[in-house]
Symmetry: C2
Subunit: 217 residues, 2 copies
Amino acid sequence: MRNAFQEELDSIHDTLVKMGKLVEDSMSEATKALLQPNLELAEKVIKNDDVIDDMQHELDARTMMIIARQSPVAGDLRTLVTSLRMSADLERMGDMAHHIAKLARMRYPATAVPPELLLTVQEMGRVAGKIAEKATGIIKSRDTEDAKSLEKDDDEMDILHRKLFATLLDDKWTHGIETAIDMTLIGRYYERFADHAVSISRRVYFLVTGQYYSEES
Amino acid sequence: MRNAFQEELDSIHDTLVKMGKLVEDSMSEATKALLQPNLELAEKVIKNDDVIDDMQHELDARTMMIIARQSPVAGDLRTLVTSLRMSADLERMGDMAHHIAKLARMRYPATAVPPELLLTVQEMGRVAGKIAEKATGIIKSRDTEDAKSLEKDDDEMDILHRKLFATLLDDKWTHGIETAIDMTLIGRYYERFADHAVSISRRVYFLVTGQYYSEES
């Protein structure tokens, strides 16, 4: 029979997965808000960030209480500590979606993204969505192969990020400094979003195997 | 007589203060590395970031073990949880210094900062130094008045950040897109550095008073 402690651990696990899905939706909507552009969607993502933040606060408080009350050892303690770190990563991923939505709102009804970068940003959004979905799946399944493979998706994001800079620095760039500033920040938000997902996959890998598969960033 | 538990709490507190001082030095050296420019100093800051990261990992592991072993209640638990959050803020502040140093190294022997922004960046560095010193002092003293006053220093940083953007967007800007990209990122690093210090001061304020003095960011 399952005991109350195990149920508490499961409930934390479920909340993390739920948080991952919210973050995934937020980023996908932020990308849409930016590219269409869509003010209503931008506002929705901005509001949704509070929900994600509250979720993290509540989850962390709950996790700390369990650690303090149950005095878990070894594996269980490691699981709980990893949960705390993953919730922080997810919260930061939510922040990145929030930043993108705020930029979309600031430039509305214009779009922050110039025509020659639409495809690159669309691709960054697509990769971000794939990465967030995978990270949520890894939290859920603790599959170490999936965890390792996320690194490749992050490489894809890095290539897109470099492509974005190359476009900004090209002699043909005619959109001036303000758009270059916007695109620099937007590029960074997507890249950081992916970095935090990689961090989650590394934490899961370590939790399961007790080993790092590469340097922790 | 002081007991072992109290000694453990004090030791965590001391490590946080030590971490704060390291972060303060890192940012001050990163600013110098950027403005002089100075490659050796940039390398030093980049290496120093590993020390700060290790310190956070060690501190967090120690804090978690205390929570699990001692089952602290109410005030002590709140202190320990706040320590975890502050160490994460300090670690992120260290990251910002690290990012600035990496940009200084990338552009060396040129300087990333054009003449008309030297003073603004110098000021941002000075305010960042003041803020880091104050945040460390607040961690040490838990002075709630100091904690509230940090908000004003952050306003100073925001003004400088806006001034930096105004210079980039001025018609007189002649340094092209690459320098604008560098300055956008540098501006963001200083601003985020200050934001994390504000976050520390808010945590201390809440720890001492049980109340927020304003919205948590």
